[in-house]
Structure formats: C-alpha cells, structure tokens
Subunit: 300 residues, 2 copies
C-alpha cells in the first residue's frame, strides 16, 4: 500500500500501525531519500506538485490501497493560500494515476471545514450543510465531489475521512495546543481567549487508528474522523495547566475572541463507530499528559 | 485577451465577435500553428493538458481577460470520461497562471448539467439545487466551487456561464440536431423518440454573444447562458422537417424514450437579461434555417 504525507503529523503514526499490522508500506514524501528505513518503510522521494510524480510512484509501487494525507499545511496561511488549489490538482492527478495502475481502495482526508460553521448542531455526514467558508474548505469539498464521482465511474472504492481537531506529538509548534504547552514548559505567560468555543479534539494516534480502520473496512463516501465529544477550549487549557503545574501562567480572557469564531464544532460519529466499528482509546487526560511529556523531551 | 478552445463550436463565433469589437485576440488551441491568421487572431499552439502550457501562454500574452472554453467534448463519451477530471486540473492550473500573470477578469463555462435534473421548475442560479448526476456535471460543479473561491481570495473577477442546449454551424455531426439535419438532407429516414422532453435551445451565435456581454460586464458568479424558453424536441424536429421539406422522413416515436431522460431542462435568464443586459437575437426558425443551409453547403 501507498501512503502520502507519511512523514507528517498523521502519517507518522499511521505508517507505524500499518507496519505493525504486517502491511508492505510504501511512503511518498519530499522529506525522505529513496530507500528502506530501519522501521521497514519503503520511502519514495517525490513531490506531488510535480506532475510527473504520481505516474512514476505508481509504476514503482503498484499499490492496491492508498491513503492520501499530503496537503499544504503552513500554519495560519493554509486557510487562504492558493496552494490549496494546487493540492486539488495534485490530488486528482494522484487518484487518476492510482486508478490507472490498478488501485482498488483509497482513503482521502478532508476536514470539518467542509461543513457550514456557526450552528449549534453536531456536524453530521448526512444532515449537515456543506458550506465551507474558506478556500481550504472549498478545495477539500470540491476535491471530494470530483474524486467521489471519478471513483464511482472507475469502480474504485473511495472513503473520505473528515478530520476535526487533532493534537499529539509532532504537531506544528505554532498551533494552539503545542504553543500553550511549550510556553508553560518554558515558564512563560500565555494570553488566551475566554475559551468558550467548543471543539472535537482527538489524539493523533486515534486519528491514525481510525483511518487505518476505515482503510480496512469497505465503507465508502464521507465520514467524520473525530471523538464525537465536545470540549471547551477553556477545559483543555485547564487540563494543560493542571498537567504542567503551571495554571497560573495562563491569562485566560486576556485576548478577545474573534467575532467569527464558531461557538461549536463537534462531529457525529455514527459512521465511524457503527459502520467502521472504531472506538478511540486515548482519553484527553492521558493524551495531553503524553503530549506534554513529548514536548518536555523535545526541549531537553 | 486570451480565449481557449477558440477553434471550437462556441470559440469560433466568439473570436469573430471579439475581433469585430476591436479586441486583440490571443487564442490557444491544439488545432492551429502559432501565428497571426488572416482574420486577425493571434494563435498560440498548445495543449492545456500539458502542465507547462498555461505559464508559457500567459508569459507570451499577458492577458487582462480570459475566456476559457476548452474541455473534453467527445460525443457520448464526455458524460463519464475520466478526461473530465483532467480538465478540472487543467482549468485550475490555467486560472492560477492567469491570476499569477496579472489577469483581471475571467469567464469560465459550466453547464446545465450542474443542476439537479428531473423537476418541473425552471433552473435558477439562486434557487435550484446543484446535484449533478454525471461525472461531467460533477467536474464542472467542482471546478466552479474551487475556481470561485480562488478568485475571491486572489481579487480576480470570475463569471461562470452555464451553457444549456446549443445548435448552429460547426456542431459535432453526431449530435442530435446535426444528425437529423444531415440525414434529412441525404434523404435518409430518421428514427427519433416521441420528443416530449422540453429543452432550452440557443443558437451558438447568441451563446457567443452572451459570453461576450458577460465578459464586458462586471457580473461575477454563476449565470445561465440560455434563452429562457422551453421547446419540445418534437417541436424542433417539426421545424427541421418543415425547413428541409423532408418531414415525412422523420419516424417520430420509433425509438423509446430513455427512462432517465429529464422531462424539462429550461433556464431562468434574469441574470443574463437584467444584470448583463443581453437579449438573444436569433429566432429558432431563422437559426435552424441558417444551420440547415450551412450543412447543405458542407455536403456540397
């Protein structure tokens, strides 16, 4: 099987799980040289934005299964960067090459940003309106529509995992959870919003586990990859404060809440739990404790 | 300005109108060698499916305005061909190159196949659901979503003209109107369905005129390029029969109506007539008479 973005936040644990399950794992990345690494991953150096890459990698690997995680993810800029459009093109080219090389089942990753935000209802694959507000969300939504129809015409199985809010080791350090953890570990004060916004957080190992379960199932179409449980950002800040023993460094409410910050972004998870049969196994307390340990080791 | 698909069914009259209006017209086509032709069009030989083409053509032409007509159009096959996906990629690449080269206003072309079909209501840009049934329709719909959001982020004006049913000179000979005309001119019998399905037909010169008007306006977003008048296929067959003097060769009802043939596909045209200010000028009788004359000359 082939995995793109294998050296990224989600790709790293997913590749480990695939190897542990006995899969032959071919991984495409711009960050690794060609060759077999000590863990057993067959790396293929390549940039998916280069139009020649997909056909070459498919010829080299002939995968039956594909998990496509690679995308533009530069913190802050990814919401509105034109690179999102390039990744729509690159993802479609990849999927065509995969189908052309005899691929059978693909898992692509979308985002909760495909849904309309701002309501109080949990976001559901069947019932919730798809009105993305950002270029990132529109590109994921547009890719899903085209890729899904192409897969149907081609006899390819395609599942589309919509990721919500992730945390865990190797997250980009500028993002909320790592930024708070790093500051507290460094003994620095952190100014946050009131934190009343409610989000659906899942540890990256559970995200990878869910994607693996989806890959191994025969479920097709869009499904939420999330915990199904909403937590306020304030609750998470409290947890991080308690676990680091540095609660007093958090100046909660010192920063204004953005006017367009949606009050609630939480998934329904019936498809994931009942159709795929996946249950997350990392509690928020354990997950944050492990993540704080990881950042503490990174600092050392 | 730059026009793609300039040697095609709609591109040909549009290029003529642009020249007549005094525009400097650069045309991209796989069917023409580079250079200025006798009509005044600057041709650029190039295939948009080649990833290198857009940047090269933009560097050569530096257009402020773009009309993108090129797409995969092979009769019968275009509904479900994977080439539709390639054209999504190619169109996004083109639009990025256009924006990157300082482009200001683009008109892209979609299709009535973006709408849900099967209802009795006229298809409206604001009110009608977008539930394309075919890969072709999904690809046009997906392209519109991504291109529209990219244009907003980039400060590019983008209008999206949804074409309905076209007829006129240079149409692909396998399609309904030319096929019937050619058979009748050849004295051959034609077996048709009962023809009760109602469609919105517009002469290709009016389609080109409407796109020119859209280009010259500042209207953005999706708008129907159509007559706003429904005609049954039976009515059109009668007209062609009368104009060729060969009505008796039409065996209407000899072929079954396809079970999934939508009863009515007709546009609302408020945006085109009121916001753009365009009125079609070719009546169905005049348009068919001229089209029959054109095919008669082609035969000679």
């Amino acid at each position: 099987m082939l995995i793109t973005g294998a050296s990224g936040f989600v790709g790293r644990p997913l590749a480990e799980m695939l190897l542990a399950g006995g899969s032959e794992v071919h991984a495409l990345s711009t960050h690794h040289p060609d060759g077999l690494d000590e863990s057993g991953v067959h790396w293929h150096h390549g940039d998916l934005l280069d139009p020649a890459t997909p056909a070459r990698v498919m010829a080299d690997t002939q995968p039956e299964r594909l998990v496509h995680l690679a995308w533009y993810t530069a913190h802050g800029r990814y919401w509105s960067s034109p690179a999102n459009v390039e990744w729509v093109e690159a993802s479609l080219r990849l999927l065509r090459a995969f189908a052309g090389a005899g691929g059978r089942r693909a898992v692509l990753t979308g985002s909760c940003a495909e849904y309309a935000w701002g309501g109080e209802e949990d976001l559901d694959e069947l019932d919730s309106p798809l009105v993305p507000r950002t270029l990132y969300g529109v590109c994921k939504d547009g890719l899903r529509r085209v890729a899904g129809s192409f897969a149907e015409e081609s006899g390819l199985e395609l599942a589309w995992g919509r990721l919500f809010f992730l945390y865990g080791p190797h997250e980009r350090p500028e993002r909320l959870v790592p930024a708070v953890i790093r500051a507290l570990l460094a003994g620095e004060r952190v100014a946050t919003s009131a934190g009343t916004q409610v989000r659906d957080f899942m540890h990256v190992d559970d995200v990878a586990g869910a994607l693996l379960a989806v890959l191994q199932s025969d479920v097709v179409g869009a499904l939420n990859i999330a915990s199904g449980t909403g937590r306020s950002v304030a609750e998470m800040l409290d947890l991080i404060g308690a676990l680091t023993g540095a609660s007093e460094l958090i100046d909660r409410g010192a920063r204004p809440m953005s006017a367009d910050e949606p009050p609630r972004i939480v998934a329904t998870v019936k498809r994931l739990t009942q159709e795929v049969g996946f249950q997350p196994s990392v509690s928020l307390a354990d997950g944050f404790a492990a993540t704080i340990d990881w950042w503490a080791r990174e600092r050392a």
